[in-house]
Amino acid sequence: MEELMERFLKIQSEYFRRRQLLFILDLISLFSILYAIFVIFQVEYFLKAIVDVRIPINIIQPILAFIIAIIGAYLLHRNDHKINMTLLIENKYPEMKEKLRTAYDNISETNVIVDSLKSLVSSGLAIVSASTLLSTTVVVTKIIVVVIFVSGAAFISFNADKYAIPVDTLTSISETITGKPEDSTNLTIDMVGNPEDIEKAQASGGGNIFAKPKIASIEGRNIDLTIYGGEGPGFEVRDVSQTRDQFTKSAAFPVDVLGSNVSDGGFSDLMKKTETDKKLIQDYAVERSKI
C-alpha cells in the first residue's frame, strides 16, 4: 500500500480507537448518573407499582439504567462514523488544507504531478498524530469525571436510606403535579370473593364466598395475608395494634410485605418495618374491616 495511505489509515484507526474509549467513558458516566437518580427518587418503588415481573426487583433498576445509558451514549456518538478524517486533519493542520483531500481523492492516479503531491502530503502526515486530533486532555478529563460519578453513585447507593427521597414526599409531589385522587380513603382493593356473598352465606348457610384466586393489592402493592376463619363473618377484625396471628407468609405468591409471624413473638420484627410498609398494612386492615 502507498506510504500516504498507510500513514493516513494509521492515524484514522488511532483516532477512532480514542473515540471508542470516549464512548465507553460516556456510557459509564451516564449509567452512574442514572443509577444515582434512580436510587434518590426510589424508582424501584414506582417500578414495583407499575411492573409485575418475575425477576428480582433489585436488578431491574441497574438494568434499566444501563439500557438508558447505552441509548444515551449511542445518541452522543451516533455520528462518529461520519467524521471526515481529511477535513478533521486539514482543520487542525491548515498547511494541509486542500492538499490532503486532493491527494486522498486521487490516491489511485499516477503521474508526475500527483506523485509530487502525494509525496508532499505524506511527509506532512508524519507530524500528524491522533492525540492532536483528539486531545489527551479531553480523555483524561472524562476519566476523572467518570471516577467522580461512579464514586458518587456508589456512595449514594450504599447510603440509600439517608439520601433517598421518602416515598410519601414523592407521592405528594406527584399528586401535586398530577392532581390528588378524588377520595384517597377509597382505595381500590382487589378482594378475594364478593363481599355481598359473605352476608348471603351467613344468612343462608351456604354460597360461594370464594371467587377466583387473586393476589390482594392496595395501591398497586401486593399484600399477602391469610385471613383466618372464625365465627361470624369468617374473619376477625383486629386493630392494627393487635398483631397476634394476623400475618402469615404465603409461599405461593411474591410478596411485598412479609408476615411478622407474631406467634413466635415476632412483634419486634413488625416494628422494624418502614413506615411505608406499616401504613400499607394498616390501610389494608382498615379497609377489610369496613366490609
Partner: protein
C-alpha cells in the same frame, strides 16, 4: 521529459511573465488567461476597446513561446479561403499544376481580429478549424500544427453592420477575456516605453515541445472531489430558474472551469486545484455562456455580477 518540464515549470512561468512584461505593461490577468487557454489546448475570445494592445500581447506571447503567429483582420468581404488557404496554379518544369497555398490559419497562434466583422460563412470556416484542428480544402484534409490556439477579438463598440457570433459558436471559446484600460501608473509606463527610440523586445523562454508538454501536464493536475462538485454546482446553478438568466452554461462550461482551474494551478506553481482557482476561472468561463434575460439587461446587469451572486450562494 515530463519530469524535467514539471520540475522547471515554476521557473518557466516566472520567466514567461517577466519576458512578456518587458513589452506589455500591466494586463497581467489578461496575459495569464491567454496562457491558460493555450495550456488547455483551447481558444480565447477577447473583448476590449481599440488600442489596448490585444495584437501586441498575443504576438509577444507567441514569440516567448517560440510559436508561429499569424493575424487575420476580419472584414465583411473576407472569404473562407482567405483563412483556410486555396489551390493556386503554378508552372513547374513547363507543366501547370495545382499547389495548395496554406492560409493564415496554418500557424500555432492565430489572431482573428474583430471576428464579428466577418460573414457567418467565414466565421464558420474559422470555427471549424478551431474545433477540428484541421482544414479541408476540396477533397483533401490538412491537419493544423500543434499547438493551435486562436485568439478572436470583438469590439464592444461599433457593433453596427457586424455579425455577432451565435451562442452555439461562442461556447467553443474556453475563456472570454476582458482587457480594460490601464491604470494611470501603467499608462505612464507605456508612454515612457513607447515614445523612445528603443523598442522593447522579448526573448524565447520555452520551445514548442515544452509547450506541448505543459499542455499534457495541465491535464495531470489533480482535483479534489468536493472542488469538482462545487465547479459543477456553479454551472448547474446557471441553469436553474432565475429572474436574471435566460439560458445557462452547458456541460462544456463544467469542463472548461475544471480545465482552466488546472492550468491556473500549474501557472501558480501548485500541484493541486484550489477553490480559489475555481472562483477565479468561473468568470472568464461563464461570462460568454450565460444569456441574461431582457429585464436584467435592461437594468444594466452584467454576467459577471450574476456569476458573482452564484459564487456567493454555492458553497
Amino acid at each position: 521529459m515530463s519530469n524535467e518540464v514539471y520540475s522547471s515549470s515554476a521557473r518557466i512561468f516566472k520567466e514567461l511573465f517577466d519576458e512578456i512584461g518587458k513589452v506589455i505593461v500591466g494586463q497581467r490577468e489578461a496575459v495569464e488567461q491567454m496562457l491558460i487557454a493555450i495550456l488547455c489546448n483551447s481558444h480565447g475570445l477577447v473583448e476590449s476597446n481599440p488600442g489596448l494592445a490585444k495584437t501586441l500581447t498575443i504576438s509577444t506571447i507567441s514569440r516567448a513561446l517560440d510559436l508561429k503567429f499569424s493575424r487575420i483582420q476580419c472584414t465583411p468581404d473576407l472569404m473562407p479561403s482567405d483563412i483556410t488557404g486555396t489551390y493556386i496554379i503554378e508552372e513547374v518544369s513547363g507543366k501547370k499544376q495545382y499547389r495548395f497555398e496554406p492560409g493564415p490559419v496554418f500557424a500555432n497562434i492565430v489572431l482573428a481580429d474583430e471576428i464579428n466583422r466577418a460573414s457567418p460563412k467565414t466565421q464558420s470556416a474559422m470555427l471549424e478549424s478551431m474545433q477540428e484542428k484541421q482544414v479541408t480544402v476540396g477533397n483533401k484534409t490538412y491537419p493544423l500544427d500543434k499547438p493551435f490556439f486562436v485568439l478572436a477579438t470583438q469590439n464592444p463598440i461599433e457593433m453596427e453592420g457586424t455579425y455577432p457570433l451565435p451562442e452555439a459558436q461562442l461556447d467553443r471559446f474556453l475563456l472570454k477575456i476582458l482587457m480594460g484600460y490601464p491604470s494611470f501608473e501603467d499608462e505612464k509606463e507605456i508612454v515612457d516605453r513607447y515614445t523612445k527610440n528603443i523598442t522593447p523586445t522579448v526573448n524565447r523562454v520555452v520551445s514548442k515541445n515544452e509547450v506541448l508538454e505543459l499542455q499534457k501536464l495541465t491535464r495531470d493536475v489533480p482535483v479534489a472531489e468536493d472542488i469538482k462538485t462545487r465547479a459543477i454546482s456553479i454551472v448547474t446553478a446557471t441553469r436553474a430558474k432565475s429572474e436574471y438568466i435566460e439560458y445557462g452554461g452547458s456541460p462544456r462550461a463544467s469542463i472548461g472551469i475544471i480545465l482552466a482551474a488546472k492550468a491556473r494551478a500549474l501557472i501558480k506553481g501548485r500541484n493541486y486545484v484550489s477553490g480559489e482557482d475555481i472562483d477565479a476561472m468561473a468568470y472568464p468561463v461563464l461570462r460568454h455562456r450565460i444569456i441574461l434575460t431582457f429585464e436584467s439587461e435592461r437594468k444594466g446587469m452584467t454576467t459577471d455580477q450574476v456569476v458573482s451572486d452564484i459564487l456567493k450562494k454555492v458553497k
